[in-house]
Symmetry: C2
Subunit: 227 residues, 2 copies
DNA sequence: GCAGTGACTTGATCTAAATCAAGTATGAGG
DNA sequence: CCTCATACTTGATTTAGATCAAGTCACTGC
Protein backbone atom coordinates (compact mmCIF):
# COMPACT_ATOMS: atom_id res chain seq x y z
CA UNK A 1 0.00 0.00 0.00
CA UNK A 2 1.21 3.43 -0.94
CA UNK A 3 0.41 5.03 2.37
CA UNK A 4 1.22 3.22 5.59
CA UNK A 5 -0.83 5.85 7.47
CA UNK A 6 -4.12 5.10 5.75
CA UNK A 7 -5.30 2.39 8.16
CA UNK A 8 -4.75 4.79 11.05
CA UNK A 9 -6.60 7.63 9.34
CA UNK A 10 -9.60 5.38 8.91
CA UNK A 11 -9.82 4.95 12.67
CA UNK A 12 -10.29 8.67 13.19
CA UNK A 13 -13.96 9.74 13.23
CA UNK A 14 -13.11 13.06 11.64
CA UNK A 15 -11.70 11.35 8.55
CA UNK A 16 -13.40 7.96 8.38
CA UNK A 17 -16.27 9.05 6.07
CA UNK A 18 -14.01 10.88 3.60
CA UNK A 19 -13.58 9.78 -0.03
CA UNK A 20 -10.35 8.11 -1.10
CA UNK A 21 -8.62 11.15 -2.68
CA UNK A 22 -9.07 13.25 0.46
CA UNK A 23 -7.71 10.40 2.54
CA UNK A 24 -4.62 10.15 0.42
CA UNK A 25 -3.89 13.83 0.60
CA UNK A 26 -4.16 13.59 4.38
CA UNK A 27 -1.98 10.50 4.47
CA UNK A 28 0.71 12.48 2.68
CA UNK A 29 1.00 15.02 5.43
CA UNK A 30 0.04 13.05 8.54
CA UNK A 31 2.56 11.66 10.98
CA UNK A 32 2.13 9.06 13.68
CA UNK A 33 3.47 9.80 17.13
CA UNK A 34 3.54 7.74 20.29
CA UNK A 35 3.10 9.40 23.67
CA UNK A 36 3.40 8.15 27.20
CA UNK A 37 1.22 8.61 30.22
CA UNK A 38 1.36 11.92 32.13
CA UNK A 39 3.11 13.79 29.32
CA UNK A 40 1.71 16.92 27.74
CA UNK A 41 0.96 16.82 24.02
CA UNK A 42 0.81 20.60 23.98
CA UNK A 43 0.21 23.45 26.37
CA UNK A 44 -2.15 26.37 26.63
CA UNK A 45 -0.84 29.47 24.92
CA UNK A 46 1.34 27.69 22.38
CA UNK A 47 0.93 28.29 18.67
CA UNK A 48 -1.02 25.51 16.98
CA UNK A 49 1.35 23.36 14.92
CA UNK A 50 -0.82 20.27 14.64
CA UNK A 51 -4.23 18.76 14.86
CA UNK A 52 -4.09 15.71 17.12
CA UNK A 53 -6.13 12.64 16.26
CA UNK A 54 -6.17 9.95 18.90
CA UNK A 55 -5.57 6.48 17.49
CA UNK A 56 -4.94 4.75 20.77
CA UNK A 57 -4.90 5.76 24.42
CA UNK A 58 -6.64 8.58 26.22
CA UNK A 59 -6.01 12.24 26.98
CA UNK A 60 -7.61 15.07 28.95
CA UNK A 61 -8.09 18.61 27.83
CA UNK A 62 -7.36 20.94 30.73
CA UNK A 63 -7.67 24.67 31.03
CA UNK A 64 -5.93 26.79 33.63
CA UNK A 65 -7.07 30.13 34.99
CA UNK A 66 -5.12 31.76 37.81
CA UNK A 67 -3.24 28.97 39.54
CA UNK A 68 -6.03 26.47 39.06
CA UNK A 69 -6.52 23.81 36.46
CA UNK A 70 -9.82 22.37 35.32
CA UNK A 71 -10.53 19.39 33.10
CA UNK A 72 -12.70 20.42 30.16
CA UNK A 73 -13.25 16.96 28.70
CA UNK A 74 -11.87 13.45 28.35
CA UNK A 75 -10.98 12.07 24.94
CA UNK A 76 -10.49 8.55 23.67
CA UNK A 77 -9.50 6.70 20.45
CA UNK A 78 -11.02 8.07 17.26
CA UNK A 79 -11.46 11.60 18.58
CA UNK A 80 -9.63 14.68 17.32
CA UNK A 81 -8.59 17.69 19.29
CA UNK A 82 -7.50 21.20 18.64
CA UNK A 83 -9.16 21.51 15.29
CA UNK A 84 -10.53 24.98 16.26
CA UNK A 85 -7.17 26.47 17.19
CA UNK A 86 -5.53 24.93 14.13
CA UNK A 87 -8.19 26.19 11.72
CA UNK A 88 -8.02 29.72 13.05
CA UNK A 89 -4.29 29.77 13.70
CA UNK A 90 -4.85 31.08 17.22
CA UNK A 91 -2.97 30.00 20.36
CA UNK A 92 -4.35 26.93 22.15
CA UNK A 93 -6.82 27.82 24.91
CA UNK A 94 -6.20 24.52 26.66
CA UNK A 95 -3.51 21.95 27.34
CA UNK A 96 -3.67 18.23 26.58
CA UNK A 97 -2.23 15.69 28.97
CA UNK A 98 -2.04 11.96 28.32
CA UNK A 99 -3.83 9.75 30.82
CA UNK A 100 -2.38 6.58 29.33
CA UNK A 101 0.24 5.58 26.81
CA UNK A 102 -1.00 5.85 23.26
CA UNK A 103 -0.57 7.01 19.70
CA UNK A 104 -1.84 10.02 17.81
CA UNK A 105 -1.88 11.10 14.21
CA UNK A 106 -0.50 14.60 13.84
CA UNK A 107 -1.68 16.74 10.95
CA UNK A 108 0.31 19.90 10.34
CA UNK A 109 -2.00 22.85 10.98
CA UNK A 110 -0.75 25.06 8.16
CA UNK A 111 -1.18 22.45 5.44
CA UNK A 112 -4.53 21.45 6.83
CA UNK A 113 -5.69 25.05 6.78
CA UNK A 114 -5.00 25.32 3.07
CA UNK A 115 -6.48 21.90 2.29
CA UNK A 116 -9.77 22.82 3.84
CA UNK A 117 -10.49 25.63 1.40
CA UNK A 118 -10.15 23.31 -1.58
CA UNK A 119 -11.57 20.06 -0.31
CA UNK A 120 -15.33 20.41 0.25
CA UNK A 121 -15.72 16.91 1.68
CA UNK A 122 -13.03 17.57 4.26
CA UNK A 123 -14.37 21.01 5.14
CA UNK A 124 -17.92 19.71 5.52
CA UNK A 125 -16.74 16.87 7.70
CA UNK A 126 -14.82 19.33 9.91
CA UNK A 127 -17.97 21.42 10.24
CA UNK A 128 -19.94 18.35 11.29
CA UNK A 129 -17.41 17.21 13.86
CA UNK A 130 -17.14 20.71 15.29
CA UNK A 131 -20.93 20.83 15.47
CA UNK A 132 -21.03 17.56 17.38
CA UNK A 133 -18.47 18.81 19.85
CA UNK A 134 -20.26 22.13 20.19
CA UNK A 135 -23.25 20.18 21.43
CA UNK A 136 -21.12 18.34 23.98
CA UNK A 137 -19.91 21.65 25.39
CA UNK A 138 -23.40 23.17 25.47
CA UNK A 139 -24.64 20.20 27.42
CA UNK A 140 -21.83 20.64 29.92
CA UNK A 141 -22.57 24.35 30.37
CA UNK A 142 -26.26 23.68 30.91
CA UNK A 143 -25.45 21.03 33.50
CA UNK A 144 -23.01 23.15 35.46
CA UNK A 145 -25.45 26.03 35.57
CA UNK A 146 -28.55 24.11 36.56
CA UNK A 147 -27.64 20.85 38.32
CA UNK A 148 -26.25 20.03 41.76
CA UNK A 149 -22.98 18.17 42.18
CA UNK A 150 -24.86 14.94 42.84
CA UNK A 151 -26.94 15.23 39.70
CA UNK A 152 -23.90 16.11 37.62
CA UNK A 153 -22.02 13.08 38.90
CA UNK A 154 -25.01 10.82 38.21
CA UNK A 155 -25.33 12.18 34.67
CA UNK A 156 -21.63 11.81 34.11
CA UNK A 157 -21.60 8.19 35.23
CA UNK A 158 -24.60 7.42 33.05
CA UNK A 159 -22.86 9.03 30.08
CA UNK A 160 -19.87 6.72 30.52
CA UNK A 161 -21.86 3.67 29.47
CA UNK A 162 -23.93 3.09 26.34
CA UNK A 163 -26.38 0.85 28.16
CA UNK A 164 -29.62 2.33 29.49
CA UNK A 165 -31.11 -0.59 31.42
CA UNK A 166 -29.93 -3.02 34.06
CA UNK A 167 -26.50 -2.87 35.62
CA UNK A 168 -23.23 -1.56 34.25
CA UNK A 169 -19.55 -1.63 35.11
CA UNK A 170 -17.33 1.12 33.84
CA UNK A 171 -13.84 2.51 34.21
CA UNK A 172 -13.47 6.20 34.97
CA UNK A 173 -11.78 8.01 32.08
CA UNK A 174 -9.16 9.50 34.36
CA UNK A 175 -8.05 9.95 37.94
CA UNK A 176 -10.71 10.88 40.46
CA UNK A 177 -9.23 14.33 40.89
CA UNK A 178 -9.55 14.88 37.14
CA UNK A 179 -13.13 13.66 37.11
CA UNK A 180 -13.78 16.11 39.96
CA UNK A 181 -12.65 19.17 38.01
CA UNK A 182 -14.48 17.92 34.92
CA UNK A 183 -17.61 18.12 37.06
CA UNK A 184 -16.64 21.48 38.51
CA UNK A 185 -16.13 20.25 42.07
CA UNK A 186 -13.18 19.50 44.38
CA UNK A 187 -11.78 15.97 44.83
CA UNK A 188 -13.01 15.87 48.45
CA UNK A 189 -16.51 16.68 47.30
CA UNK A 190 -16.38 13.99 44.62
CA UNK A 191 -15.39 11.48 47.27
CA UNK A 192 -18.34 12.43 49.46
CA UNK A 193 -20.76 12.59 46.54
CA UNK A 194 -19.71 9.12 45.46
CA UNK A 195 -20.56 7.87 48.90
CA UNK A 196 -24.01 9.45 48.69
CA UNK A 197 -24.62 7.52 45.48
CA UNK A 198 -24.03 4.25 47.34
CA UNK A 199 -27.68 4.48 48.38
CA UNK A 200 -28.54 4.49 44.69
CA UNK A 201 -26.55 1.36 43.92
CA UNK A 202 -23.25 2.87 42.84
CA UNK A 203 -20.11 1.13 44.07
CA UNK A 204 -16.61 2.29 43.35
CA UNK A 205 -13.37 0.33 43.61
CA UNK A 206 -10.50 2.45 42.43
CA UNK A 207 -11.00 3.39 38.79
CA UNK A 208 -13.85 0.91 38.36
CA UNK A 209 -17.43 1.88 39.11
CA UNK A 210 -20.33 -0.54 39.23
CA UNK A 211 -23.89 0.71 38.83
CA UNK A 212 -26.41 -1.84 40.11
CA UNK A 213 -29.39 -0.31 38.29
CA UNK A 214 -29.16 2.36 35.63
CA UNK A 215 -32.90 3.02 35.99
CA UNK A 216 -32.51 3.71 39.70
CA UNK A 217 -29.65 6.14 39.11
CA UNK A 218 -31.70 7.86 36.41
CA UNK A 219 -34.49 8.65 38.89
CA UNK A 220 -31.99 10.81 40.76
CA UNK A 221 -31.63 13.11 37.78
CA UNK A 222 -35.22 14.25 37.40
CA UNK A 223 -36.18 14.29 41.05
CA UNK A 224 -39.93 13.77 40.97
CA UNK A 225 -40.23 16.81 38.78
CA UNK A 226 -42.93 16.00 36.25
CA UNK A 227 -44.24 18.74 34.04
CA UNK B 1 -30.12 43.77 -8.33
CA UNK B 2 -31.14 40.19 -8.85
CA UNK B 3 -31.23 39.30 -5.18
CA UNK B 4 -32.78 41.70 -2.70
CA UNK B 5 -31.35 39.55 0.13
CA UNK B 6 -27.71 40.02 -0.85
CA UNK B 7 -27.07 43.19 1.18
CA UNK B 8 -28.39 41.41 4.28
CA UNK B 9 -26.25 38.33 3.67
CA UNK B 10 -23.17 40.52 3.58
CA UNK B 11 -23.88 41.71 7.10
CA UNK B 12 -23.65 38.18 8.45
CA UNK B 13 -20.14 37.23 9.62
CA UNK B 14 -20.64 33.64 8.55
CA UNK B 15 -21.21 34.64 4.94
CA UNK B 16 -19.44 37.97 4.51
CA UNK B 17 -16.12 36.52 3.25
CA UNK B 18 -17.73 34.16 0.71
CA UNK B 19 -17.22 34.51 -3.06
CA UNK B 20 -20.06 35.83 -5.20
CA UNK B 21 -21.42 32.49 -6.53
CA UNK B 22 -21.82 31.10 -3.00
CA UNK B 23 -23.57 34.26 -1.92
CA UNK B 24 -26.04 34.01 -4.76
CA UNK B 25 -26.90 30.42 -4.02
CA UNK B 26 -27.55 31.41 -0.43
CA UNK B 27 -29.61 34.42 -1.49
CA UNK B 28 -31.83 32.06 -3.46
CA UNK B 29 -32.86 30.11 -0.40
CA UNK B 30 -32.64 32.70 2.40
CA UNK B 31 -35.65 34.48 3.80
CA UNK B 32 -35.81 37.59 5.95
CA UNK B 33 -37.98 37.54 9.03
CA UNK B 34 -38.75 40.18 11.59
CA UNK B 35 -39.22 39.27 15.24
CA UNK B 36 -40.34 41.20 18.27
CA UNK B 37 -38.99 41.40 21.78
CA UNK B 38 -39.68 38.57 24.21
CA UNK B 39 -40.73 36.13 21.51
CA UNK B 40 -39.06 32.76 20.98
CA UNK B 41 -37.44 32.13 17.61
CA UNK B 42 -37.38 28.42 18.37
CA UNK B 43 -37.47 26.13 21.36
CA UNK B 44 -35.31 23.37 22.75
CA UNK B 45 -36.25 19.95 21.45
CA UNK B 46 -37.68 21.13 18.13
CA UNK B 47 -36.41 19.81 14.82
CA UNK B 48 -34.01 22.23 13.16
CA UNK B 49 -35.75 23.86 10.19
CA UNK B 50 -33.50 26.88 9.83
CA UNK B 51 -30.20 28.49 10.57
CA UNK B 52 -30.82 31.92 12.07
CA UNK B 53 -28.55 34.80 11.14
CA UNK B 54 -29.09 37.98 13.12
CA UNK B 55 -29.22 41.06 10.94
CA UNK B 56 -30.60 43.43 13.55
CA UNK B 57 -31.55 43.17 17.21
CA UNK B 58 -30.40 40.82 19.90
CA UNK B 59 -31.30 37.38 21.21
CA UNK B 60 -30.30 35.04 24.05
CA UNK B 61 -29.65 31.34 23.80
CA UNK B 62 -31.14 29.65 26.84
CA UNK B 63 -31.00 26.05 27.96
CA UNK B 64 -33.38 24.47 30.43
CA UNK B 65 -32.70 21.49 32.63
CA UNK B 66 -35.32 20.42 35.17
CA UNK B 67 -37.49 23.44 35.82
CA UNK B 68 -34.61 25.86 35.55
CA UNK B 69 -33.43 27.97 32.67
CA UNK B 70 -29.91 29.22 32.10
CA UNK B 71 -28.60 31.70 29.56
CA UNK B 72 -25.80 30.17 27.52
CA UNK B 73 -24.82 33.27 25.57
CA UNK B 74 -25.97 36.60 24.18
CA UNK B 75 -25.96 37.25 20.46
CA UNK B 76 -26.04 40.42 18.42
CA UNK B 77 -26.16 41.54 14.77
CA UNK B 78 -23.94 39.59 12.38
CA UNK B 79 -23.93 36.42 14.45
CA UNK B 80 -25.46 33.13 13.42
CA UNK B 81 -27.04 30.55 15.66
CA UNK B 82 -28.01 26.93 15.47
CA UNK B 83 -25.58 26.00 12.77
CA UNK B 84 -24.61 22.83 14.70
CA UNK B 85 -28.14 21.47 15.05
CA UNK B 86 -28.92 22.33 11.45
CA UNK B 87 -25.79 20.67 10.07
CA UNK B 88 -26.37 17.48 12.00
CA UNK B 89 -30.16 17.48 11.70
CA UNK B 90 -30.51 16.93 15.44
CA UNK B 91 -33.05 18.58 17.74
CA UNK B 92 -32.09 21.96 19.17
CA UNK B 93 -30.40 21.72 22.57
CA UNK B 94 -31.33 25.29 23.41
CA UNK B 95 -34.05 27.86 22.87
CA UNK B 96 -33.61 31.36 21.46
CA UNK B 97 -35.52 34.32 22.87
CA UNK B 98 -35.45 37.83 21.44
CA UNK B 99 -34.27 40.53 23.81
CA UNK B 100 -35.22 43.30 21.40
CA UNK B 101 -37.11 43.72 18.16
CA UNK B 102 -35.05 42.75 15.15
CA UNK B 103 -34.62 40.89 11.89
CA UNK B 104 -33.01 37.57 11.04
CA UNK B 105 -32.11 35.79 7.84
CA UNK B 106 -33.45 32.27 7.87
CA UNK B 107 -31.66 29.62 5.85
CA UNK B 108 -33.52 26.34 5.40
CA UNK B 109 -31.53 23.64 7.18
CA UNK B 110 -32.11 20.88 4.62
CA UNK B 111 -30.95 22.91 1.64
CA UNK B 112 -28.02 24.24 3.59
CA UNK B 113 -26.96 20.73 4.55
CA UNK B 114 -26.71 19.69 0.92
CA UNK B 115 -25.01 22.92 -0.16
CA UNK B 116 -22.23 22.42 2.31
CA UNK B 117 -20.99 19.19 0.74
CA UNK B 118 -20.53 20.85 -2.64
CA UNK B 119 -19.38 24.33 -1.73
CA UNK B 120 -15.87 24.20 -0.24
CA UNK B 121 -15.77 27.92 0.54
CA UNK B 122 -19.02 27.72 2.46
CA UNK B 123 -18.02 24.57 4.31
CA UNK B 124 -14.64 26.02 5.28
CA UNK B 125 -16.26 29.21 6.49
CA UNK B 126 -18.71 27.19 8.61
CA UNK B 127 -15.80 25.29 10.12
CA UNK B 128 -14.07 28.56 10.98
CA UNK B 129 -17.14 30.13 12.57
CA UNK B 130 -17.84 26.99 14.55
CA UNK B 131 -14.22 27.01 15.68
CA UNK B 132 -14.51 30.58 16.87
CA UNK B 133 -17.63 29.81 18.81
CA UNK B 134 -16.06 26.65 20.25
CA UNK B 135 -13.43 28.90 21.79
CA UNK B 136 -16.07 31.15 23.31
CA UNK B 137 -17.68 28.17 25.00
CA UNK B 138 -14.36 26.78 26.23
CA UNK B 139 -13.55 30.12 27.80
CA UNK B 140 -16.90 30.12 29.56
CA UNK B 141 -16.40 26.59 30.91
CA UNK B 142 -12.94 27.46 32.19
CA UNK B 143 -14.30 30.55 33.92
CA UNK B 144 -17.21 28.81 35.61
CA UNK B 145 -14.93 26.08 36.88
CA UNK B 146 -12.13 28.22 38.20
CA UNK B 147 -13.34 31.75 39.00
CA UNK B 148 -15.50 33.21 41.76
CA UNK B 149 -18.73 35.04 40.98
CA UNK B 150 -16.98 38.38 41.42
CA UNK B 151 -14.20 37.51 39.00
CA UNK B 152 -16.67 36.16 36.46
CA UNK B 153 -18.72 39.35 36.60
CA UNK B 154 -15.60 41.48 36.23
CA UNK B 155 -14.47 39.45 33.22
CA UNK B 156 -17.91 39.59 31.71
CA UNK B 157 -18.12 43.37 32.03
CA UNK B 158 -14.67 43.75 30.54
CA UNK B 159 -15.66 41.52 27.62
CA UNK B 160 -18.60 43.79 26.84
CA UNK B 161 -16.34 46.62 25.73
CA UNK B 162 -13.57 46.60 23.15
CA UNK B 163 -11.57 49.24 25.02
CA UNK B 164 -8.79 48.15 27.36
CA UNK B 165 -7.75 51.43 28.95
CA UNK B 166 -9.46 54.32 30.68
CA UNK B 167 -13.19 54.39 31.36
CA UNK B 168 -16.05 52.77 29.53
CA UNK B 169 -19.81 52.91 29.43
CA UNK B 170 -21.72 49.90 28.26
CA UNK B 171 -25.25 48.52 28.03
CA UNK B 172 -25.86 45.06 29.40
CA UNK B 173 -26.85 42.66 26.61
CA UNK B 174 -30.00 41.62 28.44
CA UNK B 175 -31.95 41.87 31.67
CA UNK B 176 -30.01 41.54 34.91
CA UNK B 177 -31.62 38.21 35.64
CA UNK B 178 -30.42 36.92 32.27
CA UNK B 179 -26.92 38.19 32.87
CA UNK B 180 -27.04 36.38 36.22
CA UNK B 181 -27.75 32.97 34.70
CA UNK B 182 -25.19 33.62 31.95
CA UNK B 183 -22.68 33.92 34.80
CA UNK B 184 -24.06 30.89 36.60
CA UNK B 185 -25.39 32.81 39.62
CA UNK B 186 -28.77 33.94 40.95
CA UNK B 187 -30.17 37.44 40.34
CA UNK B 188 -29.83 38.30 44.02
CA UNK B 189 -26.18 37.36 43.96
CA UNK B 190 -25.59 39.46 40.85
CA UNK B 191 -27.15 42.42 42.62
CA UNK B 192 -24.83 42.02 45.60
CA UNK B 193 -21.79 41.31 43.45
CA UNK B 194 -22.45 44.47 41.47
CA UNK B 195 -22.45 46.42 44.71
CA UNK B 196 -19.09 44.92 45.64
CA UNK B 197 -17.67 46.16 42.35
CA UNK B 198 -18.61 49.71 43.31
CA UNK B 199 -15.33 49.81 45.24
CA UNK B 200 -13.59 49.06 41.94
CA UNK B 201 -15.25 51.93 40.10
CA UNK B 202 -18.24 50.15 38.57
CA UNK B 203 -21.54 52.02 38.62
CA UNK B 204 -24.79 50.66 37.33
CA UNK B 205 -27.94 52.56 36.39
CA UNK B 206 -30.49 50.15 34.99
CA UNK B 207 -29.12 48.51 31.84
CA UNK B 208 -26.22 50.93 31.65
CA UNK B 209 -22.94 50.24 33.42
CA UNK B 210 -20.10 52.68 33.76
CA UNK B 211 -16.59 51.48 34.50
CA UNK B 212 -14.39 54.27 35.81
CA UNK B 213 -11.10 52.49 35.12
CA UNK B 214 -10.74 49.33 33.08
CA UNK B 215 -7.23 48.86 34.48
CA UNK B 216 -8.51 48.94 38.04
CA UNK B 217 -11.19 46.36 37.26
CA UNK B 218 -8.60 44.18 35.55
CA UNK B 219 -6.52 43.98 38.73
CA UNK B 220 -9.44 42.19 40.33
CA UNK B 221 -9.12 39.32 37.88
CA UNK B 222 -5.56 38.23 38.55
CA UNK B 223 -5.46 38.89 42.27
CA UNK B 224 -1.77 39.52 42.92
CA UNK B 225 -1.00 36.15 41.38
CA UNK B 226 2.19 36.60 39.37
CA UNK B 227 3.97 33.60 37.95
C1' DG C 1 12.30 -3.94 53.50
C1' DC C 2 11.41 0.76 54.10
C1' DA C 3 11.21 5.72 53.23
C1' DG C 4 8.91 8.82 50.17
C1' DT C 5 5.35 10.45 47.16
C1' DG C 6 0.98 11.15 45.43
C1' DA C 7 -4.05 9.55 45.19
C1' DC C 8 -7.82 9.14 47.77
C1' DT C 9 -10.79 9.29 52.00
C1' DT C 10 -12.71 11.17 56.18
C1' DG C 11 -13.68 14.57 59.58
C1' DA C 12 -14.20 19.44 61.36
C1' DT C 13 -14.95 23.94 60.12
C1' DC C 14 -15.84 27.84 57.18
C1' DT C 15 -17.80 30.54 53.51
C1' DA C 16 -19.72 31.91 49.06
C1' DA C 17 -23.72 31.74 47.19
C1' DA C 18 -28.59 30.06 47.50
C1' DT C 19 -32.86 30.55 49.52
C1' DC C 20 -36.55 32.81 51.78
C1' DA C 21 -38.82 37.00 52.57
C1' DA C 22 -39.80 41.85 52.29
C1' DG C 23 -39.24 45.63 50.30
C1' DT C 24 -38.93 49.51 46.24
C1' DA C 25 -39.07 50.95 41.60
C1' DT C 26 -41.00 50.96 36.90
C1' DG C 27 -44.08 50.30 33.37
C1' DA C 28 -48.53 48.59 31.12
C1' DG C 29 -53.46 48.44 30.99
C1' DG C 30 -57.86 49.54 32.57
C1' DC D 1 -55.26 57.78 38.44
C1' DC D 2 -54.94 53.33 40.33
C1' DT D 3 -53.79 48.35 40.01
C1' DC D 4 -51.26 44.63 38.71
C1' DA D 5 -47.16 42.45 37.07
C1' DT D 6 -42.40 42.21 36.74
C1' DA D 7 -37.58 43.59 37.55
C1' DC D 8 -34.59 44.58 40.80
C1' DT D 9 -32.70 45.37 45.55
C1' DT D 10 -31.86 44.45 50.38
C1' DG D 11 -31.82 41.81 54.55
C1' DA D 12 -31.87 37.42 57.37
C1' DT D 13 -30.94 32.72 57.25
C1' DT D 14 -29.48 28.32 55.40
C1' DT D 15 -26.72 25.18 52.88
C1' DA D 16 -23.84 23.00 49.39
C1' DG D 17 -19.57 22.76 48.63
C1' DA D 18 -14.78 24.57 49.78
C1' DT D 19 -11.06 24.58 52.76
C1' DC D 20 -8.07 22.87 56.25
C1' DA D 21 -6.13 18.96 58.41
C1' DA D 22 -5.29 14.15 59.37
C1' DG D 23 -5.32 10.07 58.11
C1' DT D 24 -4.94 5.41 54.89
C1' DC D 25 -3.48 3.06 50.91
C1' DA D 26 -0.77 1.81 46.88
C1' DC D 27 3.27 2.30 44.29
C1' DT D 28 8.26 3.70 43.35
C1' DG D 29 12.95 3.76 44.07
C1' DC D 30 16.71 2.90 46.91
Amino acid sequence: MAHPRLPYLRKVDLFAPLPEPSMERLADIAGLQGFSNHTYLFREGEEPDFIYCLVEGAIVLVGGVNGQEAVIEFFGPGESILLPAALLGLPYLVSARATSDGQALLIPAGRFRSMIDEDAALAAQCARMLSAHWRVLIRQIKEIKTCSATERLAKFLLSQTDKTKGSATLALPGMKKEVATRLGIKPETLSRTMKKLTEFGVESTGEVVHIASLERLTTLINPTHLD
